[in-house]
Symmetry: C2
Subunit: 478 residues, 2 copies
């Protein structure tokens, strides 16, 4: 048959990753409280389901926000026909204002720099097409979102070079790590065109502090490379410290920055919980990038029907203020409940204050300190505990044993079932623990006895969150 392209026949899409495999496992057997109570619970999807009652109430009171109501239908024709790639002025104004409000109104966004794209996925590809040629590279601190390989590399031919961050300092982006990645890229004959930072971080659920952001800005200015700030989780910061956007840093006194190097990727998929609506935004301080990205937006314009709805919703100050407050409140509560419940069975996670997930620390549960052992544990969790969580390796984490677990994509009941499964799993392995050597053959974990068993049994491995004198999970793995 006639050949297809190298892109089509290659595997650059990155779908063959446990990150996506977990989704498939979920899709073939999705949990349902009545129809499929033994199904897989999806904890691999960073989805924000918590605010829909609030949104629904607003919608019913605002029929004019829809094109398909008696109150709104007179705008149907002009909206259905609207295809200007600049986007509707009222849409851009509303999004710019929302972006400002999400950042505490400490910074203003210019509606004329708002460029549409098909979700953050399309936004990242657009930025990559604008900034880099095939074979050029972006530096990306680890762990990072698995979809970046598809978004930034697949069709553009751009390379991603990891900036290795480590648990020893809570995965902080250091100047040393940045320089090391830069040198490594150069040694590989890659021209470094930019640095991509995700703030708040997916999968860490943490934010970049002011000092780190300043270091990042001075690094990219010294190297004269672009900075892409992925801020799609900006409104999910539910607890102090306060979120700091890259857009605030470059306006600070004493910060020297060539603004032509600064580009923000935004979206309403996470902050509002509308991934289906495909509202992706490129916000660039560089006029040429705005102009080029706008031309490229023809490939991923936001549906004018959706522009109209979003414009109505986000131009309403009361809605926005209350939505942001409500969302933070609900995320805070859910996060607190989830992390506290895990701590009850001895599971700890990186301290976080943002995002729709936690970065769960199961290092002590690994048979050995390898990614093979991480995958073994992951398979047990997905196949036996029936929870789809995502292993750190799929986020390019360079230390085995970390897992991203999403907590905002389910209702309270499903969350309770998930926590019950975790508890049962932990207790079952705990009970079966005596004698330890026997357990290791019988355990559903199928974990062999660790050479570090003595370490594990010592008090030093207790989770700081755990009230139990001996964590069942710790016992389970012995």
């Amino acid at each position: 048959m006639a050949a297809m392209s190298k892109i089509a026949t290659g595997n650059g899409h990155g779908e063959n990753s446990p990150y996506f495999d977990g989704w498939k496992a979920y899709e073939t057997n999705p949990f349902h409280p009545i129809d499929r109570p033994e199904g897989v619970i999806q904890m691999g999807l960073a989805e924000n389901q918590l605010c829909f009652d609030f949104i629904k109430n607003w919608l019913i009171k605002h029929p004019e926000a829809s094109l398909c109501t008696a109150q709104g239908v007179n705008k149907f024709k002009e909206t259905a026909l609207f295809q200007d790639y600049h986007g509707m002025p009222e849409f851009r104004q509303a999004v710019a204002k929302f972006m400002g409000k999400v950042r505490g109104d400490r910074v203003k966004f210019d509606p004329d720099r708002i460029v549409m794209s098909g979700g953050a996925t399309g936004a990242h590809e657009t930025v990559a097409f604008c900034l880099a040629d095939p074979g050029d590279a972006f530096l990306v601190p680890t762990p990072y979102y698995p979809g970046f390989d598809r978004d930034l590399k697949w069709r553009t031919g751009v390379e991603l070079v990891p900036v290795n961050c480590e648990s020893s300092n809570d995965f902080k982006i250091t100047r040393v790590a940045l320089e090391a990645a830069y040198v490594k890229a150069q040694e590989a004959n890659l021209r470094v065109k930019g640095l991509l930072v995700t703030n708040p971080s997916n999968p860490l659920g943490t934010i970049l502090d002011r000092e780190t952001l300043k270091n990042v800005v001075s690094f990219i200015n010294e190297k004269n490379i672009h900075l892409i700030g992925d801020e799609i989780y900006a409104a999910t910061v539910f607890m102090d410290p306060e979120f700091v956007s890259i857009s605030e840093i470059i306006e600070e006194d004493g910060v020297e920055c060539n603004r032509d190097l600064i580009h923000i990727v935004y979206s309403l998929s996470k902050d509002m919980g509308f991934p289906g609506f495909r509202v992706g935004i490129v916000y660039s301080y560089n006029d040429a990038v705005v102009s080029c990205a706008r031309k490229m937006s023809s490939f991923g314009l936001v549906s004018s029907q959706t522009q109209h709805l979003i414009a109505s919703m986000l131009s309403n100050d009361d809605f926005v203020d209350n939505f942001i407050a409500e969302s933070k409140e609900l995320l805070f509560k859910r996060h607190k409940y989830f992390t506290w419940s895990l701590s009850q069975v001895g599971i700890s996670s990186l301290k976080s204050n943002a995002g729709l997930f936690i970065w769960m620390d199961l290092r002590k549960l690994l048979r050995e300190n390898t990614f093979e052992a991480e995958m073994e544990l992951w398979r047990v969790i997905i196949n036996e505990v029936k929870l789809n969580v995502s292993p750190g390796s799929s986020f390019h984490c360079n230390e085995p044993g970390w897992f991203r677990v999403c907590f905002a994509n389910m209702d309270d009941n499903t969350m309770a079932v998930a926590l019950l499964r975790i508890r049962t799993f932990v207790l079952k392995n705990n009970e079966a623990m005596v004698p330890p050597r026997k357990l290791c053959r019988r355990s559903s974990l199928k974990l062999s006895l660790s050479r570090r068993m003595d370490d594990l049994m010592s008090p030093s491995i207790m989770s700081p969150h755990s009230p139990l004198p001996q964590s069942p999970l710790v016992r389970a793995r012995t």
Copy 2:
């Protein structure tokens, strides 16, 4: 400053074309009956505005089709969250059924082969990314839609090689022309990966007959190259002969075809008049292309809000049947009125039965038979007559003097004003015509005396549609 990409700094987007310049001229001074009666009338936009009253009536009667009504709001959450790149099953079923109905139910489409993309623009790019590597080529019969250069070439690095069609046989796609283009591509060291045909044709407004389609299918099978059938104007065929889809040809007895080579690009932008909703479709008979295009659809998914509305609308048989009939009827009437009115002032066009435009023949008005003269005439039409029409050169037509004029993107009153302007322009030049040699200096056309003046004054140049013994336009140019 840090370099941008070659794509960003090059001019492959193709925006520097009179096709888009005309839009800009319109945008800086758009006609409005009261506010800007002297503004430019947009006749360069293939937009279908005729059926909105029909659609509006249906919407008001079907509040459940919207997510933002009391009747529909219970589906808001699941829809806003829906991001599966397969698309909603009910959306794909409805679109597949609509595609069948538009083709007279002579052929069935499989919902599992419906792949979403951001409009036809995104669909074409997706197909190009799937089938061709940078430097590979597609053959495209001329004249063709100017946006193809952006859609298929810009970010993919693919080349388009024109198949030169000629007015002498009404721009028919012949085997000779196909072979010539194929050889030319080979001589330029381009690997030909496919042939792209637009049926019904934009800008011709004609359809490909069964014999031509069979020739096309045998050509691509012999060469073992892909065939992309752009059928985005399928429902705009308002008059006999009946539209024949490539999907019918490959199912015919006696037609040998490797179906893996066949791909259809579809959209609701023209057939339903919803360009703002960005519903683009790749329909491929090739499983690998379906699979790859679906992965790529992440960059241009249709908003789930829009999927929901389209699914509601197009799953309603009565709506679809009546809409298709209503649309054809209104296009037929508008086309008839427009072409008849032009014929009254001596302007003829290629005989057509489809599309939202006519291919107007102003060859006799050119100062000389060159594209420079075509551009001179175009500038007069846009700057003095204040009509944005699109010159043939922007469609890669290889004969000067043809212009695409859109007739379905305006209301009856605006159409009347446009026709009045044409009439005034023609008559003014007609009155000022005596003596001819004097006119040529005074004429608002600023056309110099043609070497072919004698030819022009002969009866042979009369439009067959024109009842006038001597066309004023013809006189005007002497």
